[in-house]
Amino acid sequence: MPPEKKRRAPRRNFAGLLITLALHGAVLFAVRAAHSKTDEPLEIPRDFVVARLVKLGKPREKFWLPRITQPPRPTAPPKVIKLSDDPNAPKAPVEAPRPDNPQISKDLRRALDRARKLEQLIPTEPEEGQLTGSAAGTATEASAGDAYATAIFDAVRKNFTPPEGLITDAQLARLTTTVKIRVGDDGAILENKLLKSSGNSFFDDACVSAILATHKVPPPPAAARRLAARGYALEFAGKDLK
């Protein structure tokens, strides 16, 4: 009897072990399932559209030799900061009021005065937009996710100038480079990885150095933190239009 008892005990323990394993497996599965749910991508910001107006003026005669029309290159900001205007400067002379034209009849003058008063009543419309908006923005409203993507766009774009003279304009129009960045809760750029090269090393270097020079972007708002930590793909293009 006792040896039989001894034989049964390990069998029962083995079954218990299997049940424990199954329960552990189920718990692990539940944990994984719960985690995979949060992996769903967040709202993806829309593309930015940049429009540029053509200058108004008389077209140039075709027979004339060409003139350089490209905008000047950025120069270093002036070292002296102008704090205020010169207080000793003479004041601009005030123009004396002109006498009314006696030729105009009383009724006409009254009508003109009324029209002028009505004109003054019309409030001037301030430009619409957001106080935290971008100078390159094209819309008056943005969702929270877009606002943060715009902040990144503004911060990185400021430092992005592909080297003129090393890349021709014709080449520039065809170049795109994608770099992945991840942003920490304090706005520090944690990762800076080339995902897709443009094939032109000078252009790739200009993209990477723009991110390195940016170094830090505004800290993400709470809603954008998870997205920022997961990363953005920055697609650098050589030219505005595709």
């Binding site: 009897m1 027979f63 766009f153 990185v156 992005f160 080297p163 995902l195 697609e235």
Partner: protein
Amino acid sequence: MMLSSPSVARRRLGFDAAARAALALFVATLTLMIGGDAARAQAPAAPGGAAASEDLPTIHITPSGSDLFRLALPKAVGDNESGAALDTETRDLDISGIFHLLDPGSFPAELQNEGMGFSSALWSQVGAQGVAKMKVGRTAGGAATIEGALYVIGRGEGPVLSRIYKGSDLHDAVSQFANDVVGYFTGQPGIFGSRIAVALTGKNREILTIDMDGSHTQAVTRMGSDCLLPAFSPGGGEIAFTSYLRGNPDLWIISAAGGRARRVSKQPGLNTGAAWTPSGGSIALTMSYEGNAEIYRISASEGVIQTKLTINPAIDSSPSYSPDGSQIAFVSNRQGSPQIFVMPSSGGAGNAKRVTFQGKYNQTPRWNPRADKPLIAFTGRDERGVFDIFILDMRTGKIDRVTQGKGSNQDPTWSPDGRLLAYASSRGGLFIANPETHHEVQIWRGGGSSPSWGPAPTRH
């Protein structure tokens, strides 16, 4: 005991079934997890990482403007000559026209005293995209040496170029380093150390040569009479020019090092505007001994007339050979105003073709020495009556402007690598511009006209 036996068996059966089910569940769970992990692991490894970038939100970024490559030149390490070395380096790299040299005043002390090391994070904070560093030294024999290193942000923490240069003097050693720095970016060695010949316009109208960065001026002629229109031979050993020494504008040739000039062509009337053939054996020039100014080809050694290249009642002058020597660009007023024409180098009456159709007064064509870039630089007078430098693209017929709104600029000459143009300006002296970036530097303040750029320096 006997009763317990079936129940034990039943229980055992129940246990077995439960155990099997549990085992199956566990295995299935494991399979799912491992399978899921494998699938997840495979996704980013898809070709080119495209899947990874697609599932990240994309921000499109376009350039905020155009700028040159921002290069930092910190203080050179070494003895009291380090200041002079930095001056030459700064000047040369500025002339190349492809760099925006950062103000050294903006570098914090830790970068100024970094030595020959490099931190890409710190340098990118001051806006640099690259850093060129030098260490000045001397060999046991006393010759100047430069240890040069070039770092590029985005290319890791190591230098992309690191070498020790020995030169005849400090200027020469620094020029060699500057040539390699330019070579890294353009794929072609730089041309620092090459020389430019120029005709003085002051009281002493002699021919002078200058280093392309404006240093090391050297008087070539001592004719004591008006000398003009110098032209470096393709090898750089000789300079052809026109002088009134014997009362007539004759063509003379002198060694670029100076010495005694020899008279090559003394036909009555003009013997001007010499252009060497690319092989250096012959010279095309304007002569008027037959009454009208035409272009002829003569031998460079004896001045023997080989061919009359133009036959036209109008004035034909200012020839320039294409790099392969098959074509000649020249100026003619045969259709009214002076314009640029191109003809085969064998010449001929009806073979010339007009190539400029904009502007009323175009002259001094100079063919780009690069065979892959058929460009002709010339002086044009715009509708405001100002002379400026222009470039004609022979493939498209399109004209680009090089100078604008800064005095009157004339007589362009290409650098031996075809990337830069030197010209004389009413602002005084000689200027060099990079026609692609429009970056312009005054290299010399003296009074001079019609510069001619010599060949690239030879290095061993």
